[in-house]
């Protein structure tokens, strides 16, 4: 087995909002740490699920990947070059290689421009001259995303959410990216449309060999698409592993809590959820220690509150691919069994 090729490598990326502008009173949310010491890599051709609740920093991470936000500290390496040092033409080429798909298909298209106009901008950015070259590219592109030639001269408002998301994907593909960062691409869509778009992502990945970062709050979406899943909580990466490791054998108590909270869609499943407490926005300033310690159920079971409240656990390897940031990651599965009503420790 060859070592997988790494497309993106993030090294202790930290992002704080505020700073200078906050000082001048231009930004009142000064000093908010959206990302804290995140180390992560994206491999060629994989789908990496980025999972977290509101305030977890997952969108900020996505924006740093596409270059519309700069990390406060830490490095972002794209295909071996330092992405943040890029300037001019190299910067523009980088931006083309990494395209973003946004959550809200209603705001991510300019209401005043036709679909054709939008796509032609993309072709122009790629350097295709108007005329036959673009027509050929268009003819190649449209079937990939399930759009037809007849739709090109219409305005975005004439389309439904699902179709708009196809247009957004088409726009991203005009510049032949190698990475797609998708920020909640289906969460604004109807259930019956979600399936279409998720299938589309699968086929794009297969046909175009794209690497995809799938940012989502929905574990079911992550489970469906991802090869690997990273779990973020309050700006920190708390667990990362293969789909199976995260969904079936998670070792971080937060991941377990997320999984237990997700609706199963099974009327016969037991709904007893002893682990749930609090919400993702901290009630007061966090005083250090593990980011999760104020809501942690495992901490109550293992009875070692001091360490959790004072020492931030580093992300440590458990087995191949699988890492978790918890002092007691070893004990999570057993503790989960204990804390659940007998018969409920499924999976």
């Amino acid at each position: 087995m060859t070592k997988p090729e790494v497309v993106f490598r993030l090294e202790s990326v930290t992002k704080e909002f505020g700073g200078f502008r906050g000082l001048l009173g231009l930004n009142r949310s000064a000093g908010v740490r959206a990302l804290d010491d995140v180390n992560l890599e994206l491999r060629r051709g994989e789908v990496l699920g980025l999972v977290g609740e509101s305030g977890s920093g997952k969108t900020t991470l996505g924006r740093i990947l596409v270059g519309s936000e700069r990390a406060t500290s830490g490095q972002v390496w794209f295909e071996g070059t330092h992405a943040e040092a890029l300037r001019g033409r190299a910067l523009r080429n980088f931006r083309k290689s990494v395209q973003m798909v946004f959550q809200n298909p209603f705001t991510s298209l300019n209401p005043r421009r036709t679909v054709r106009d939008v796509l032609h901008s993309g072709f122009a950015a790629r350097g295709l001259p108007p005329g036959a070259a673009r027509a050929a590219a268009m003819a190649e592109l449209l079937p990939k995303v399930g759009l037809s030639e007849a739709m090109l001269d219409r305005y975005p408002h004439e389309f439904s959410g699902g179709q708009r998301q196809r247009i957004v994907l088409a726009r991203a593909l005009t510049v032949e990216p190698s990475v797609l960062v998708a920020d909640e691409p289906v969460s604004a869509l109807d259930v019956s449309i979600q399936a279409q778009i998720l299938n589309l992502f699968l086929s794009l990945r297969r046909d175009l060999k794209l690497s995809i970062v799938m940012i989502t709050h929905d574990l079911r979406v992550a489970n469906f698409l991802s090869d690997r899943i990273a779990v973020l909580y309050r700006g920190r990466l708390v667990e990362i592993g293969t789909r199976e490791q995260i969904m079936e054998h998670s070792r971080h108590p937060y991941t377990r809590m997320l999984l237990s909270a997700a609706p199963t869609g099974d009327p016969d499943a037991p709904h007893h959820r002893p682990w749930l407490a609090g919400d993702a926005t901290p009630a007061g300033p966090m005083s250090g220690g593990c980011v999760f310690h104020d809501r942690c159920w495992l901490r109550k079971i293992v009875k070692d509150p001091d360490r959790c409240a004072t020492v931030q656990p580093p992300l440590t390897g458990l087995e191949e691919e699988h890492m978790a940031a918890c002092h007691f990651a070893e004990q999570t599965p057993a503790a989960a069994e204990v804390s659940l009503v007998p018969g409920e420790a499924s999976a």
């Binding site: 449309i193 399936a195 709050h217 009327p267």
Partner: protein
């Protein structure tokens, strides 16, 4: 309006019975039939789910039960019988006493529906006052107690908070507290947890249902998330394009759905555990907008069953009525059990 027969589903102890309710929005020369000839009933203490995708009319239906439809929308026909009284012709003055006291409402965006410039305590006590609860001190005690009951650790302190100072989950808790304040007999909960994080959603749902179960309050839970319905409701109704297409007990609907739309919805439900299917069963086409509903059965252009049956003409020509089939009611020209398989609905949720 299409000569659909009313299905008498109400039991003797039905708290709310809706018969042939239609809500239309008229702008200029177009009429949008947002809710079209819908009948349903909710028993005492029952939790009923109302499921559908955006624009199917489920929120409009919920709001019309309290007659809170804003112009240009109006109830053009039907009855809403609550506890023996038809609310449709009731004078606004009497309706006001029912709203908030007997039937209360919880909506998705708790922050937006709270008065931003007054404190939580005042918002709770003013409801008590306007419904004739005397005594300022008593009202404050009631408000504090109800906050405690929805899980506020320091209720007396929280009475002094402004809505925007609370987290999303806490805002929704206040909203639920307010809906429980006067011991209502029915709560209409319109996507109460959609804007919340999963971990908070589960807590809030648990809170709402347990409070209602202990007090015997009925709930109409409007949602687009079948996952939520599965674990919360006793009965479920599925809406598509302004009409109820299937209704029945939750377990029945989830284990043996009859309407091809319900089948497709369940198939689109992603599994949480286990290896994902290589590709999802997806319905073709788009969810129709309220002003462009197809003729005949409104689901017919997207219907896999119809396609499997070789496009029978009746689907395009005639609107199917909601009819009892076994324990369900279903609005389909081809409701036969055997037809389910042709709906490509064999992908089960939990296998």
């Amino acid at each position: 309006m299409t000569g659909a027969t009313t299905t008498k589903r109400e039991t003797p102890e039905a708290l709310l019975t809706v018969r042939n309710l239609s809500v239309h929005f008229r702008t200029g020369d177009t009429t949008v039939r947002a809710v079209d000839d819908v009948s349903l009933s909710i028993g005492r203490g029952e939790i009923v789910g109302l499921v559908g995708e955006s624009g199917c009319g489920k929120s409009t239906l919920g709001m019309s039960l309290l007659r809170l439809i804003e112009a240009p929308g109006e109830i053009v026909g039907g009855e809403v019988i609550f506890d023996g009284r038809d609310l449709v012709p009731l004078p606004e003055k009497e309706l006001r006493r029912i709203r908030g006291r007997d039937i209360s409402l919880v909506v998705q965006n708790a922050l937006a529906v709270m008065n931003p410039v007054t404190r939580v305590g005042e918002q709770l006590t003013e409801v008590l006052r306007d419904h004739g609860q005397a005594g300022r001190a008593d009202r404050l005690v009631r408000a504090r107690d109800v906050l405690a009951s929805v899980g506020f650790p320091r209720p007396a302190h929280s009475l002094h908070s402004y809505p925007h100072q609370l987290s999303g989950g806490m805002q929704q808790r206040v909203s639920i507290a307010q809906s429980l304040l006067l011991g209502p007999r029915l709560i209409i909960a319109d996507e109460p947890t959609t804007a919340l994080d999963v971990t908070v959603q589960a807590q809030v749902l648990q809170l709402l249902t347990s409070a209602c179960r202990t007090q015997g309050t009925s709930v109409l839970l409007i949602t687009h998330d079948l996952g939520v319905v599965a674990e919360t409701c006793d009965r479920v109704m599925v809406m598509y394009a302004g009409r109820v297409v299937e209704s029945g007990p939750v377990r029945q609907i989830f284990t043996s759905p009859r309407h091809p739309y319900t089948v497709a919805l369940l198939a689109a439900l992603l599994p949480l555990r286990g290896a994902p299917p290589p590709v999802l069963q997806a319905l073709p086409g788009q969810t129709p907008q309220p002003n462009e509903w197809p003729s005949g059965c409104r689901f017919n252009p997207r219907c896999p069953r119809r396609a499997a049956l070789g496009d029978p003409a009746i689907c395009e020509a005639e609107e199917p009525a909601l009819r009892d089939v076994g324990a369900h009611a279903i609005a389909c020209h081809f409701p036969g059990e055997d037809a389910v398989g042709t709906g490509r609905g064999s992908v089960r949720v939990d296998d």
